[in-house]
Amino acid sequence: MPAASSNRLVREVHCVAALAGRTREDAVLELSQRFVDSGALDEAGRQVLLESVLRREDAGTTGIGNGVALPHPKAPEDVRGHVGEPLVAVGLSAEGIDFAAVDGGRVHAVFLVAAPDSPSYLAIARRVAGLARDRRWPKLLKQCRTPKDIRELVEEAWGEVKP
């Protein structure tokens, strides 16, 4: 794996241009599988992540509005032993996913976050909220056809962010 790619907060191998599932569970399952496929997370870590993320969703939606959700572990401690540096997987869905979002809308971009500490999580949430608030966001999102498009869109908005 080239170093340049693994140094990125959002890696192409962690991006899905068209999520197969229609539920938030499906979306989280599919995105977490990307972490396993790339070797960023082992299967045990994935199980811990899934359990914590779904517990977090039960406590209140992470669908923060404008078609964006950022599912994440209920507590960073839950995944700390499994995640070295912050991981973000991005999945898009043209049809939209029901996340019971705060604005009642369907979610078209899911950012699955696995960060080992609160400051990393706050910083990532800030970047995701910034994207979601961008007026050009819905149009930009529709132009994403490949994982590369997603990675480029995010990097352009965030700068070439390192974890």
Binding site: I64, G65, H72, S118, Y121, L122, A123, R126
Partner: protein, 103 residues
């Protein structure tokens, strides 16, 4: 007719994970019950926060609140203008004081 004075109150973010998605959502849902304009103004950001002193956000907008990325230890002013501003500021301040029900 003169505009009524703003209602203000200071609060400190004390929950371990700061003003992340769930507290921001809780806060916005609470603030939206009031007709008054309700805002958070950052007095002193806690270590690791995204916001700087003086940054502000509508307390009714989840995305604006998340953008502040306020870490534990941050101090904010809750301010409101409008007929039910006193009640709104008190309620929002209390939610922050109660650590959003977190530890």
């Amino acid at each position: 007719m003169s505009a009524p004075a703003a209602v203000r109150r200071t609060a400190q973010i004390l929950n371990a994970s700061g003003l992340h998605a769930r507290p921001a959502t809780q806060l916005a849902e609470l603030a939206r019950r009031y007709t008054a304009t309700l805002e958070l103004v950052v007095v002193e950001p806690g270590p690791g926060s995204g916001a700087a002193a003086g940054d502000q956000a509508s307390a009714k907008e989840v995305l604006d609140l998340i953008l502040l990325a306020l870490a534990k230890g941050s101090t904010v002013t809750v301010q409101g203008h409008g007929p039910d501003a006193a009640a709104g500021v008190a309620a929002v301040g209390e939610l922050i004081d109660r650590r959003f029900g977190e530890v």
